[in-house]
Symmetry: C2
Subunit: 345 residues, 2 copies
């Protein structure tokens, strides 16, 4: 197991790089834009392949590294269903598993600091974002925060984890690096309340100034999507409506790049094949299944995913591999649903 | 196992709190004076008993928390044999074990950054002080530093540890928290040298300004000893010469507070009993062996240790427990040796 806690001293942010082995897939939680070079250097040195970059919520105190990491590594960006970000590659909800090779995090929806706040549980440790801090909790006075919701996230979910569970938050400002659920239950001053009303009252009296970076960070963090227009301009995109006409066309292979959990929850386009995005590079090189499918049958590969981001990256990679007819569904399943495209569950 | 990495953002110092269990003994490495309140709060919350505070070397960039921790917890302060500090409770050398309940660190003498630099190895991890940093090494241009010695400490000792050994340094300024020996061998730019001469040349060209705190920190860190004068003023101290006259006196019980390794290396005063300092509180309360010895025989307890620091704290504790004849040997075995007191090996 590779586990690295990385600190951004400007914003007091902790980011976490996880991988099951050297040479394997990696995932990063809450990356900071200014530290992206360091993360990528470390990823390279540890011989890792960054496949997912995850934000626990839309941060107000630093600009996320999600977009830059996606642009530089073609990794999948991940946030919760509720995040008011333009586009991320993949959205998760309570009960999902966030997986890479050898690592599976349980997805916990823990709103309160913001309404898009998630925590991620990995066996003996939980990444709590700004929901539970060491001897503190995230403020609840902006970005649709709710002390009432946070109380439920804390007392109803996080504090019900085993006492020995390690707590890795998104921030610390006092020099702590880790705590445990048992410690926080006993010594976190915000958690020594007898009722939700007492907690709401406590949080309403904090009177904190807004984060210095807020007016820069929040708008920047809400615009993370990969521009898909360039792909369209090159003629490599179909609208959802155009794609609907291709269903059943023997000259077309619809390729679903999503993961099993996304397919289960949202359904699939009839007749499409599943080839998850993390395996794309392997699949589209000579000898790979998609490359051979395209070359031996002459079929046009039409990629799709949740929001068009993975598929846009896939089109570029396929074109680079010489599959010159490859294209994708602009806007992905999100656009497909809005166009009332047929689905199979 | 309890393992806490704690950060002082002012000096970029990492301190480490170790214990084998809740409720057990704890040890802290490289504590920072300004963070002592936080350490002690954590020690209390985790129900630990701080028994040792260790500095890897005399720091030039922050004032050590050793003295304050000793004064507030009566813990044992520990440094290497070479440290030009007035008094610490205990000195260690290469090959020693630094132990608390359930934890044993191998003591490695790793000079170079300073001539008193030590590293401490605990199974899967090594605390490297300023000898080996993450993608760096400690400067060697003051405090009797030597790039040549550091090269030997690095290439001859630390880099010979297994590649997967975790590296926990005393500082980081870029947001890293941990590395491994294998990573540092491969990617630490200072370690990509072909010879000791190349390393010496590299280190000689760094041209670093002195640490901001140096003129304050170094003198402060060299004066850490517990003042023993107050104990003497109260009539609770014997000089080494006075103590020599007590050998064989049936009314006196000489109590050696040192650990086994210290007794082995430096010898013991003839006829003395061994009752290690960490057990003192238990031994001098009613029902404890020293309390019962003093009360049932009327013998005067004469404590001694390496430098008089543990014994001075023991005298105070014994007096507080009602053992009003208790005293100690001022300056400990160090004074005893200088006075040519007899020793048994």
């Amino acid at each position: 197991m590779i586990f690295r806690q990385l600190f951004d001293s400007i914003s007091g942010t902790y980011s976490y790089l996880l991988a099951s082995r050297r040479g394997g897939e990696a995932l990063i939680i809450d990356p900071v834009l200014e530290k992206v070079d360091r993360y990528l250097q470390l990823v390279k040195e540890l011989d890792l392949k960054l496949v997912k970059a995850v934000d626990t919520h839309i941060h107000a105190d630093h600009v996320t590294g999600l977009g830059a990491l996606r642009d530089r590594t073609h990794c999948i960006t991940v946030m919760g269903e509720q995040a008011r970000v333009d586009v991320v590659s993949m959205r998760v909800v309570e009960g999902d598993k966030l997986t890479i090779e050898g690592v599976a995090l349980d997805v916990l929806y823990t709103p309160g600091h913001t309404d898009d706040s998630y925590s991620f549980l990995m066996q003996d440790r939980v990444f709590t974002g700004d929901t539970l801090l060491i001897r503190g909790t995230g403020r609840t006075d902006f970005q649709n925060g709710s002390a009432r919701a946070q109380y439920q996230s804390l007392f109803g979910k996080l504090l019900k984890l085993p006492d020995e569970t390690l707590v890795y938050p998104a921030h610390d400002y006092k020099g702590d690096t880790v705590s445990t659920i048992g410690e926080e239950k006993a010594f976190n001053p915000r958690l020594q309340v007898k009722s939700v009303d007492e907690y709401v009252d406590l949080m309403s009296k904090l009177n904190l100034p807004n984060p210095k970076m807020m007016d820069v960070a929040v708008p920047a963090n809400m615009r993370q999507g990969l521009p898909q227009d360039e792909i369209a301009r090159r003629g490599w995109a179909l609208t959802a409506t155009q794609a609907m006409a291709q269903i059943g066309d023997p000259n077309v292979a619809l390729i679903d790049l999503r993961e099993h959990s996304e397919r289960e929850r949202h359904g699939v386009i009839p007749g499409s094949l599943n080839a998850p995005y993390p395996d794309l590079a392997m699949n589209i090189r000579p000898g790979g299944v998609l490359y051979e499918l395209a070359c031996s049958t002459g079929k046009r590969l039409v990629f799709y995913c949740a929001f068009g981001e993975r598929s846009a990256m896939a089109v570029q990679a396929a074109q680079d591999a010489g599959l010159t007819t490859a294209c994708h569904i602009h806007g992905g399943m999100d656009a497909w649903r809005k166009a009332h495209g047929p689905l199979v569950h």
